[in-house]
């Protein structure tokens, strides 16, 4: 479904992503793992068109994606829930969600998806007219995910959904991701919490300073010594 080829991204003269290639198949959950500065967020931002790559290609379903402006990429079926959630804190929950559906004009479908999000996250439904800035971190993350779902994406990119959340909240979020996959959404996940991410993932890519070091299925990576030492903090 998504194909990234030799992607190079730079901020000024500093290369953040130094030629990575990976692919995401339909219906999968794929994780990008790595320490700070590995280039995970940059990769997502490039795919969603917020940054222009220096070289390399991004393909979605056999169509070239790089060079397309960000707002047009949303209409192609990619939703990006950015790092730090980037909600509109002074806008209500409902307005936030409706903004997620900004590119759509089918009112009936939007209403239906609103109800779907409220069913998935009842907290949001109860407080739909409150400004999202008043919410706790976990609730905000739910809203960020719900908002990303509102564009009815085929590919959902989540950047650090568990950041700053309690273990219980992390579990809830991860369970939701699994549910999303079950309902047919493909997910590209960036996580620091490797344990949680890999348990869910069909495939994982481990990045380090802008390069993919190795890749495998989620299960295999969970058992991989290098991963266990670096990301799971196990002393082997």
């Amino acid at each position: 479904m998504l194909e990234v080829k030799d992607l190079v991204v730079a901020y000024g003269r500093v290369q953040a992503v130094k030629g990575i290639s990976f692919s995401v198949e339909e219906g999968q959950i794929v994780s990008l793992l790595g320490t700070n500065g590995a280039g995970k967020t940059t990769t997502l931002r490039t795919i969603s068109g917020l940054i222009k790559p220096v070289s390399g290609e991004v393909w979605l379903d056999g169509e070239r994606l790089d060079g397309t402006p960000a707002h047009a990429i949303v209409t192609r079926g990619i939703a990006h829930s950015p790092e730090g959630r980037k909600l509109f804190p002074r806008m209500s929950v409902e307005d936030n969600l409706l903004l997620g559906a900004f590119t759509r004009r089918d009112h009936a479908g939007i209403k239906q998806d609103l109800d779907r999000v409220y069913a998935l996250f009842p907290v949001l439904g109860e407080r739909r007219q409150q400004p999202s800035g008043l919410f706790s971190g976990g609730e905000q993350q739910m809203l960020a995910m719900g908002r990303a779902m509102m564009s009815r994406p085929r590919l959902l990119m989540l950047d650090e959904p568990s950041m700053g959340l309690s273990p219980i909240m992390t579990q809830t979020i991860m369970r939701t991701i699994a549910e999303l996959r079950a309902s047919g959404t493909t997910v590209l996940l960036v996580e620091q919490n490797a344990q949680a991410a890999l348990t869910l993932s069909d495939k994982g890519y481990v990045l380090e300073v802008g390069r993919i070091m190795f890749t495998d299925t989620g299960e295999a990576l969970l058992r991989d010594d290098r991963v266990r030492r670096t990301y799971l903090g196990l002393d082997l």
């Binding site: 949303v74 903004l99 590119t103 564009s151």
Partner: protein, 596 residues
């Protein structure tokens, strides 16, 4: 009511730390009687002379025959007395919890200090106009003393509970009646205030209006009114429009006030257009007056004036469209390179654009460029409009009332303003409006949501310019002549100031802000030299005490008081109470008095 002044009945829901007045609570009973004595003083004052000679205020030099301003003082005194006496009259019914609909103690405090301010302003006006304290007659002193006594004494009354009138289950016709009454009161106040020739009378009356609103707010009437208005938007809009429409009828064919009123409407319409750019999309445009100018110049050039330079004059509806389009194209031209910068840079670029426009209009005089605008002379002698056989320059008799030239234009501008407000509110609640607010809040996040940031910014710019162009086309005919020096930077600054003063992104707030900024200098000519100083002070005071504007957008209120959790909760509740039923079509929330 529970606050008859005894210690025990301090309402449990009086929130927040006890104000300093609560310390004097044991004096509450005697204080109430002292305050009543003060109120009697205030009531007696209007029947005495306030001034030695008749030429101060509206002749307050008679004994026993109060002038209108004195009657207003009497009304204030009645209000004060009523608030003080009410707790004796309205006893809680046995076995029932008190209803606590009105906060009489707060009303008494507000009415007392309000009368003090009123008498102080009136006395100051007399002293200034007649030269010295000698000019003050016993009436003024009695009023001052009574109000002072009442003010001091009411400080000792407990603050009491929050008024619950706004939660009263009023039938729909009652709510609408209240709205119509309030709007009619505004019409009366506007007509009466504008009818006052003396600046001091006008100021004194203005103070009275302010005091009236303040007392109503403290007692709880305003809360009820805004709740009713929120639930009957259409009635409010219709009533406001009807009142604005009727205003010329109160003027008896006099053009003096109508010319001011037309100016206010043009200013308000322009501010409303700018409100899209500044209030919704969050783009600070400091050269907006240029779009008004572009519309005015286009209309002037296409008019039948002997000085028009093109010699082509299509009918006015076409001219309006062309004017709007010219302004919108200018907006696109200035917008497409500059909207990629934001914040301060955009402000600087638009400021420069405003100046470039003015200088260009000065130079298109046939010497430095093609002769389009006749340079600094501008285009004079623009004839009056004639639409569908209706000559705007003539007086007409309508329902036995003389309707002069400016009143004709007033009605036309009212239509234009209504159109602009319609466009504004529809945009505000549309998908596009949501996109603009998202851009204002966080441009990058908006882009990630699929909002075409640049396109929407450009649309805001061009759309706002189009509306200003339309207003400009009418303005050209109202003003008869169009010259470049009408469109200076100061006008742009006042437009922004009006929006900030009223409340960015709102309709009502911007109308009020624009009216205040345009009306005050027109009515108070003596204050012209200090106009900028006063506005500067006004804005600084606003930024300190009410940065969200007079009538804030609820979303905006959070922006300025983000650390105030209580307010945040309250806004959340308010929004839920008012917005959810209207959105979801659900039945209205059950808002009853707490004994119902």
């Amino acid at each position: 009511m529970n606050d008859t002044g005894s210690l025990v009945t301090l309402a449990p829901d009086s929130s927040g730390p006890a104000p300093t007045g609560e310390r004097w609570i044991r004096f509450a009973k005697p204080a109430r009687w002292i305050a009543i004595a003060g109120a009697v003083g205030v009531l007696a004052a209007p029947f005495m002379a306030w001034a030695y000679r008749p030429d101060a205020l509206d002749d307050v030099s008679f004994w026993g025959e109060p002038s209108p301003l004195q009657w207003f003082a009497f009304a204030l005194g009645l209000l004060l007395l009523g608030c003080l006496v009410a707790p004796f009259v309205i006893k809680p019914r046995p076995g029932r919890r008190p209803r606590r609909l009105l906060a009489f103690n707060r009303g008494a405090k507000a009415a007392a200090s309000g009368s003090l301010v009123y008498f102080a302003v009136a006395s100051a006006a007399i002293v200034l106009e007649l030269g010295g304290l000698v000019a003050l007659e016993p009436g003024a002193w009695a009023g001052l003393a009574g109000a002072l006594v009442a003010t001091v004494a009411t400080r000792a009354l407990p603050e009491g509970h929050d008024p619950r009138l706004q939660f009263l289950n009023t039938p729909a016709w009652g709510q609408i009646l209240g709205i119509v009454g309030a709007v009619a009161l505004v019409l009366f106040a506007a007509a009466y205030g504008l009818g006052q020739d003396g600046a001091s009378t006008f100021v004194t009356f203005g103070v009275l209006c302010g005091v009236g609103v303040y007392v109503a707010a403290r007692v709880g009437v305003m809360g009820w009114l805004s709740a009713a208005a929120a639930r009957n938007r259409r009635a409010l809009v219709l009533a406001a429009f009807a009142v604005a429409f009727l205003f010329p009828m109160t003027q008896d064919g006099s053009d003096a006030n109508m010319s001011i009123a037309v100016g206010v409407l043009i200013f308000a319409a322009t501010a409303m257009g700018l409100n899209i750019v500044v209030g919704l999309a969050g783009l600070l445009d400091l050269g907006y007056i240029a779009f008004l100018g572009a519309g005015a110049f286009t209309a002037a050039i296409l008019s039948r004036s002997a000085f028009a330079t093109l010699g082509w004059s299509p009918p006015f509806p076409v001219v309006v469209l062309i004017s709007g389009t010219v302004a919108a194209i200018l907006g696109l031209i200035i917008g497409s390179p500059t909207l990629r910068v934001s914040g301060d840079y955009l402000a600087i670029v638009t400021l420069a654009f405003g100046e470039i426009f003015r200088i260009t209009m000065n130079n298109l005089d046939g010497v430095d460029g093609p002769n389009l605008t006749r340079g600094s002379n501008g285009i004079p002698a623009i004839p009056d409009l004639e639409l569908f056989g209706f000559d705007f320059g003539e007086s007409h008799m309508i329902l036995g009332v003389q309707i002069g030239r400016f009143a004709n234009y007033y009605w036309l501008m009212l239509l234009v303003l209504a159109l602009i407000i319609l466009v504004f509110t529809n945009l505000n609640h549309s998908r596009i409006g949501r996109g603009w607010v998202a851009i204002r809040e966080d441009e990058r996040a908006a882009e990630a949501m699929g909002v075409n940031v640049f396109g929407l910014k450009l649309l805001a710019f061009a759309g706002g310019a189009f509306l200003a162009g339309i207003a400009g086309a009418v303005k050209a005919h109202v003003d008869v002549s169009v010259t470049p020096d009408q469109y200076i930077f100061m006008e742009s600054a006042f437009l922004v100031a009006g929006i900030v003063l009223g409340g960015m992104g709102t309709v009502g707030g911007v109308l009020i802000g624009a009216s205040i900024l345009k009306l005050l200098p027109e009515k108070l000519r003596f204050f012209e030299d200090y106009r900028l100083l006063m506005f500067g002070v006004l804005l600084v005071v606003m930024m300190r005490f009410r940065p969200e504007g007079l009538m804030p957008d609820e979303r905006r209120q959070l922006e300025f008081h983000a650390d105030d959790d209580e307010l945040a909760e309250e806004i959340g509740e308010n929004i839920e109470a008012h917005v959810i039923p209207s959105l979801a079509g659900a039945p209205e929330p059950d808002l009853k008095g707490d004994d119902a």
